[in-house]
Symmetry: C2
Subunit: 372 residues, 2 copies
C-alpha cells in the first residue's frame, strides 16, 4: 500500500505532575531511542502478547537497547479472556525472576488488554514503577492507552480490579496498524465513532465521509482519527482524571457492551464489538426517553454497520434475555445502590448520565438483540 | 486486670486532601457509630480473619449498623502465609457477590496482614473505594495501619505487589489488645522499639523503664507507646508519603527481617520477630562500619530480649547461610541495580541509608545467626 507519511503529531494529557504526551505518526518505533521523554531506569521490561511479539518486539528491543542496561521481554497469551490475575502474575514473575528493582520501566507493546495489564502491573509492582504505552491496535491508540485507566477482569465483572495510573508517554505508531486483522480494526473504529455522539458531531460527519479511507488504512485518515480521538479524550481526562463525573461519558455504549462481553464469555465478542452494539442500544434508550430522534439513531446505526461492526446485541439467555442483561449491568462500576446509570445522548454531541426504568430497558433489549 | 482509662488521644497524618486522624483510646469500637470521620456509603464490608472475628466482629457490626444500609463481613484465614493473591481475591469475591458498588466502605478489623490486604483491595476495587483501619494488634496500631502502605506478598518477595493508598481513619482501640497472644504483643513491641534508634532515644529510654508495664498491658503505658509511635510515623510519612527517601528509615531491621520471613516461609517467624533479629543485625552492621559503638548495640539487644523477642536470626541455609540472606535481600524493594541499601544507625536516634560490602554483611550474619 502506497502511503504518504503524515508528520508526527502530538496531543498532551494535562494532569499536573502526571502530564504526558501522546505521539502520533509513522515508524515511530525506530526513532524511539532518541525520545527525550523515555524514563531512565536500571532495566526495561517489554510486556507483549504472542501475536504481537513476532511482529514488533525486535524493533522495540533495538530502540530501547541504547537506553537501558538490559531489556527483558515477557509475552502473554493473546486475548481478553486472559486479562485476569493469573496472566498478570506472569508479569510479576518476570520482574522478580529478572531481579528488577524500583527503577525498572515497563513497556506495553500490544492492544488494550496488554496496555491495561501492563499499566496495572506497573501501578502495583513495588507499589509503583513507571510505564510507557506503545499501542499497536486502533482501539488502544484512540482510547485505552490514554488516560491511565488500568485493570484486570474478575469472573463477575469487567475491569473490576485496577488502578488509575498514568503512563509517562504514549507512542502511537500508525505503521503497526498495517498488520492489524480487519476485525480488530473495526473494533477500534467503534471507539472512534463513540466520540461523535458524546462530544463532536463534526468528527462524526468526517467519519461518514472517510470510513472507506479508514477501512483501507490510509495513513492520513488514520492519523486524523487517532489525533482527534486523543484530543477529545485528553480534554475529558484532564477535567476528570478519576471519573468523579464527566469522564463517565467516555463509557457510552459500554454499559450494554460490558454485559455482552461478560455474558458471552470474555474474548468471544471483541470489546469494540460489544461497544458498537451497546451504542445502538444506548441510543435507542435515549430515543425512547425523548432525548434524540430516530434520524439520529439510524444515522449512528448506519455508520456502525459501515465500519463492519455488529448493530445488534447477542441473546445472552434464551429464557430471560433482558433479565440477564440487567443482572450483568447492575455490577457495572457506574451503578450505585443497585441502580444502573446509563450514558445517554442528550441531543447529538452531548452525553449525560441517568437511570432508566427497567421496563424501558427491557423494551430496548428486546428490540435491539439478534433474535428479537 | 484493673485499668485506668486513658482519654482518647489523636494523631493526625497530614497529607493534603488525603489527611486523616488516628484515634487512640479504650473502648473506641462502641463509640464508633457517632464518629464524624466515617465515610458515608451504600454498604460496609468488614474484612477480618477467623481469629479476630469471634472477638470483635459483633461490636463493629453493631457500631456500623446505624451508619450503613447494610454491613457485610468476610473472614480470611489468619496468618502472613495467607497474605497472597488467592486470599485477596476472597475480598473481591465478597464485594462482587454482595453487589457492592463504588460507594462501599471497607473496614480492616485485625492485624497487619488484614490491614495490608484490605487496604490493597480498597485501592484496586473499581479502581479505588474508601477504607478505615481498625487495628487489633499492637504491631498494626503502632505501624502498619498508619501511612498507607498496602500490599500482598509474592513467593519471591514480601510486599512486592501493592499500592500507596491512605485510609480515611485509623481507630486504635487499646481494649482489643487484651486478647492479643503474648507472642504477638512482643512482635508489636519490636516496631515500637524501632522508633528509638531511628528517631527518638527519649522514647527508647522510656521503653527501658516501662517494658514491664507494657508486657502487663497497662493501658496508660500502651497509650503512650502507641501515640508516640504514631507521632513519629506521622512526621516521617507526612514528609515522604511515597518513600522517595526519608520514609525508608522506618524499615530499620526490615531488610534482614524480610529475608528471615521469606527464607523461613511466611508465617513461621512473625514479622515483628524478623524485625527484632533484623535490628540486631543492622545495628551490628552499623557498628562494624563505625557508626555506633558496642554500648549501643548491647543496649538495643538487651531491650529486644526483655520484650521477649529473638535477638539472633535463624539459619536459612546450612551450606551457605550468608549467601542465602544476601540472595533474599537483593530483591528487597530498597535495592537498586542489585545493590542492597541498608537502613543503618548513624549514632543513636538517627538513621541513614547506605550500602555495605558483602564481606562485612557476611561477617554480621555469621555473628548474629543462631548456629554461629
Amino acid at each position: 500500500m502506497k502511503q504518504s507519511t503524515p508528520p508526527i503529531e502530538g496531543v498532551r494529557i494535562v494532569l499536573g505532575d502526571r502530564s504526558y504526551d501522546i505521539d502520533i505518526g509513522s515508524a515511530l518505533l525506530a526513532g524511539l531511542a532518541a525520545h527525550k521523554a523515555l524514563p531512565s531506569g536500571t532495566a526495561a521490561l517489554i510486556v507483549t502478547n504472542d501475536t504481537v511479539q513476532p511482529l514488533y518486539e525486535k524493533a522495540l528491543v533495538e530502540a530501547l537497547a541504547g537506553r537501558y542496561p538490559v531489556v527483558h521481554t515477557v509475552a502473554l497469551p493473546d486475548g481478553e479472556e486472559h486479562k485476569n490475575w493469573q496472566t498478570l502474575n506472569l508479569i510479576f514473575d518476570a520482574l522478580l525472576t529478572h531481579g528488577c528493582d524500583r527503577k525498572v520501566v515497563l513497556y506495553a507493546l500490544g492492544g488494550g488488554v496488554i496496555g491495561d495489564m501492563t499499566g496495572f502491573a506497573a501501578a502495583c509492582y513495588m507499589r509503583g514503577v513507571p510505564f510507557v504505552q506503545v499501542p499497536t491496535t486502533l482501539l488502544a491508540q484512540v482510547d485505552s492507552s490514554v488516560g491511565g485507566k488500568t485493570a484486570i477482569n474478575h469472573p463477575l465483572g469487567k475491569n473490576m480490579i485496577g488502578a488509575f495510573y498514568q503512563p509517562r508517554l504514549v507512542v502511537c505508531d500508525l505503521a503497526t496498524l498495517d498488520t492489524l486483522p480487519a476485525r480488530e480494526l473495526a473494533a477500534g473504529l467503534a471507539e472512534v465513532i463513540k466520540y461523535g455522539p458524546i462530544a463532536d458531531m463534526e468528527l462524526f460527519g468526517w467519519l461518514e465521509e472517510h470510513m472507506d479511507a479508514l477501512l483501507a488504512r490510509e495513513r492520513q485518515a488514520l492519523a486524523h482519527a487517532v489525533r482527534r480521538s486523543c484530543e477529545i479524550k485528553a480534554a475529558v481526562v484532564g477535567a476528570d482524571e478519576r471519573e468523579a463525573g464527566l469522564r463517565a461519558i467516555l463509557n457510552f455504549g459500554h454499559t450494554f457492551g460490558h454485559a455482552i462481553e461478560a455474558g458471552m464469555g470474555y474474548g468471544v465478542w471483541l470489546h469494540g464489538e460489544g461497544v458498537a452494539a451497546g451504542m445502538v442500544m444506548a441510543a435507542e434508550l435515549s430515543r425512547r426517553l425523548g432525548l434524540v430522534d430516530e434520524a439520529f439513531t439510524q444515522r449512528l446505526t448506519r455508520l456502525i454497520a459501515r465500519a463492519g461492526l455488529p448493530t445488534r446485541g447477542p441473546v445472552l439467555d434464551a429464557q430471560d434475555n433482558a433479565g440477564r442483561y440487567l443482572e450483568l449491568m447492575r455490577v457495572d462500576k457506574k451503578a450505585e445502590g443497585g441502580e444502573i446509570r446509563f450514558v445517554l445522548i442528550d441531543g447529538p454531541g452531548k452525553a449525560i448520565m441517568r437511570t432508566a426504568p427497567d421496563a424501558l430497558v427491557r423494551e430496548v433489549i428486546a428490540q435491539c438483540c439478534a433474535a428479537a
